[in-house]
């Protein structure tokens, strides 16, 4: 190791400055202003993460008078075929409304009725949880102001690559690389909060453009890979994220905005075929059937709506979250007033924001590794969306500070640091090798070929063999500059996530969560053997293995008649309207 490794020290490091990360850092700093808190961001916190251009609304607001925490926990339990840690859902639901008030106080504007109440809409199958944010484009600006006020230190353009532990197995450091210079960083710390977002660069989007992903492509699964290598358990990774999208464009359709205003998902005949546009595995399975069937493909239907309604939909969808969608439609000559909008399904990914897979955390945000916490799309709390990222960011910030008061980690292992220094710099030393983009394309093309549902056992086994071949080629990655080193290290994460996706899918020998885990050769749900979380981890020999974790006894009982509500989503012929 040479001068390019700089050593610094903080009490707490938050990795990822998108949604959960800033909230975690601000909460921690407010809880104990004496501690040194670092927010590490691969891009720039001004415009980073899933909400870099804002968000058009809350999808899971639990507000008294509209919904109760108990009702929300029931809804999400049913939507996830029962495999949930209800205490974690309840911890979110009980703080949901308080977090909305906190954000409201910071200047985030939520839609209100004439009498000043929150204007909550119904999109879910059972309850009301959707709260529009017509001015949601400024969320990042508001978060940045709070980071500055709380005096959180920020390092932009650093990619965390590995977590380091002390002799007792407690988190003691973070290894990071600059994305613009050859510098590397060793941060000694007592606690780490992972807020690295989804693993969104796993499958290849239908457009074939590597960066045309549903998720912000900076979210390449670095956090999932770091947690795995640190020995943390990851839950239910076979419950893939697959979302309904505009064909070729990576924006959502978008049911949460259009459905309360009368828009809906339709088949080629303009007929409704699902009762509820809320994103669930069961909904996606019906979507997939229609897409591939004789009545396909699938469309977003708005052309029956009044002019002022369409104008409102355009204003929200074309200024927030995915603002380039307006120019996409314009170029294609698509006008919501005249035509239905062709839809498709997204590439696969890991994202608890919409599905249920991620780094396992309990209701305190703790992973299975001491000193390591996770929040947002990277963590395991299902259907958590943006508001869940804020709530679990706050929970992690509180837990990390409280745990630090009880004890500190020792020193990170020097051999591990040296090994990571070598791995992090390897691609810069290779002149004639494989450019990162080319290897990434190949991995993600294989992910589509072998892992995309419907899942087939033998295909996933072949996929694993191909991933193993590519793993042997990793030392041959060539980076022409620090930017390409960033991409090369992301390729390592993407390959780790591809292997995790295959092994987790092979482990669960049943079908569950609709399309998310549809195994053609195990087509039935098997509650006798598989009513459990699947936990993937690195064992003492360094092998990727899985085990079952029992579902904790429900704190909110589910009645028999509710249990299958999400399995009856298809509109029968003749009932459509």
């Amino acid at each position: 190791m040479d001068d390019s490794l700089q050593r610094i020290e903080y009490d707490l490091v938050v990795i990822g400055g998108g949604t959960a990360g800033p909230m975690a850092a601000v909460t921690a700093k407010l809880r104990n202003p004496a501690l040194k808190v670092l927010l590490l961001e691969k891009a720039d916190v001004h415009r980073s993460g899933a909400i870099c251009m804002g968000m058009d609304g809350l999808n899971n607001a639990v507000i008294p008078g509209h919904a109760t925490p108990e009702q929300y926990v029931r809804e999400i339990t049913v939507a996830n075929d029962g495999i949930v840690e209800q205490s974690s859902l309840l911890a979110y639901a009980e703080r949901s409304s308080g977090m909305i008030r906190q954000l409201d106080g910071w200047g985030v504007q939520f839609q209100k009725t004439g009498s000043g109440d929150y204007d909550v809409r119904k999109v879910h199958h059972l309850g009301e949880y959707v709260l529009p944010m017509p001015q949601g484009h400024n969320v990042k600006k508001i978060l940045y102001r709070q980071l500055k006020r709380a005096r959180v230190e920020i390092e932009n353009r650093y990619q965390a690559t590995r977590l380091l532990k002390d002799a007792d197995g407690r988190i003691a450091g973070v290894f990071a690389v600059s994305t613009r210079t050859e510098q590397t960083l060793l941060i000694k710390t007592g606690a780490v909060i992972l807020a690295t977002g989804a693993a969104g660069r796993l499958g290849l989007p239908a457009s074939g453009y590597l960066f045309g992903t549903y998720e912000n492509p900076t979210n390449s699964g670095d956090g999932h890979a770091m947690a795995y290598h640190a020995g943390a358990e990851l839950a239910n990774l076979e419950c893939f994220q697959i979302n309904p999208l505009i064909k070729d464009y990576n924006g959502p359709a978008c049911a949460y905005v259009t459905s309360p205003l009368g828009g809906y998902t339709a088949n080629a005949h303009g007929q409704r075929f699902i009762r509820c546009d809320y994103w669930s595995g069961q909904m996606m399975l019906e979507f997939h059937h229609e897409l591939e069937g004789g009545n396909g493909p699938v469309f977003l239907k708005l052309d029956h709506l009044a002019e002022d309604t369409i104008a409102e939909i355009e204003r929200v969808l074309h200024t927030n979250e995915r603002p380039s969608r307006g120019r996409f439609h314009e170029r294609r000559g698509t006008d919501y007033r005249e035509q239905m909008v062709e839809m498709h399904i997204s590439e696969i990914g890991f994202c608890s924001g919409h599905s249920a897979s991620g780094i396992w955390i309990d209701r305190h945000g703790r992973t299975t590794v001491p000193g390591l916490y996770a929040a947002g799309d990277a963590a395991s709390v299902p259907h958590n969306y943006m508001l869940g990222a804020f709530v679990y960011g706050a929970i992690c910030g509180e837990s990390a500070i409280d745990d630090l008061a009880a004890g500190r980690a020792g020193t990170p292992d020097e051999d591990e640091i040296a090994a990571e220094f070598e791995r992090a710099n390897q691609a810069l030393r290779v002149a004639d090798g494989i450019p990162p983009g080319q290897m990434e394309y190949k991995i993600r093309r294989l992910v589509n070929d072998y892992l995309q549902p419907p899942k087939i056992t033998r295909k996933m086994q072949i996929g694993l063999e191909r991933f193993e071949e590519i793993r042997e080629e990793l030392p041959g990655l060539s980076a022409a500059d620090p930017h390409e080193r960033l991409r090369a290290l992301e390729v390592h994460s993407i390959l780790d996530c591809a292997e995790m996706a295959a092994r987790a899918s092979l482990y669960r020998q049943e079908s569950r969560w609709g399309l998310y885990h549809l195994r053609v050769d195990h087509p039935q749900r098997d509650d006798d053997n598989w009513f459990a979380h699947s936990m993937l981890y690195k064992d003492a020999q360094g092998r990727m293995v899985s085990r079952k974790r029992p579902v904790e006894p429900y704190v909110i009982p589910i009645e028999e008649r509710e249990r299958d509500a999400y399995r009856r989503l298809r509109v029968e012929v003749g009932a459509a309207h």
Binding site: A43, C52, F211, S324
Partner: protein
């Protein structure tokens, strides 16, 4: 194996007349989540260096002089 460079059409267009990167402005370069913009050494103006665009628009919205236009990448159009 040896390496070559393929030409590609990129989505981010910078109007050199309006761009003030030569006066020290770095806004578009700093806000890009994918870090694909750089100063073009030939002109001193910003340009898209890496074809890794999410067409998310911070560069265009935050540019103080309106010099940046983001098109939809060719493969998606």
């Amino acid at each position: 194996m040896p390496i070559t460079v393929n030409r590609v059409s990129v989505p981010v267009v910078v109007d050199d007349e309006k761009c003030i990167a030569d006066k020290g402005c770095r806004v578009c370069i700093e806000v890009c989540p994918l870090d694909v913009l750089r100063i073009n050494p030939a002109s001193g103006k910003a340009h898209m260096r890496y074809d890794e665009c999410w067409y998310c628009l911070p560069c265009e919205k935050d540019c103080p002089t309106g010099a940046v236009t983001v098109n939809i990448p060719y493969l998606l159009r």
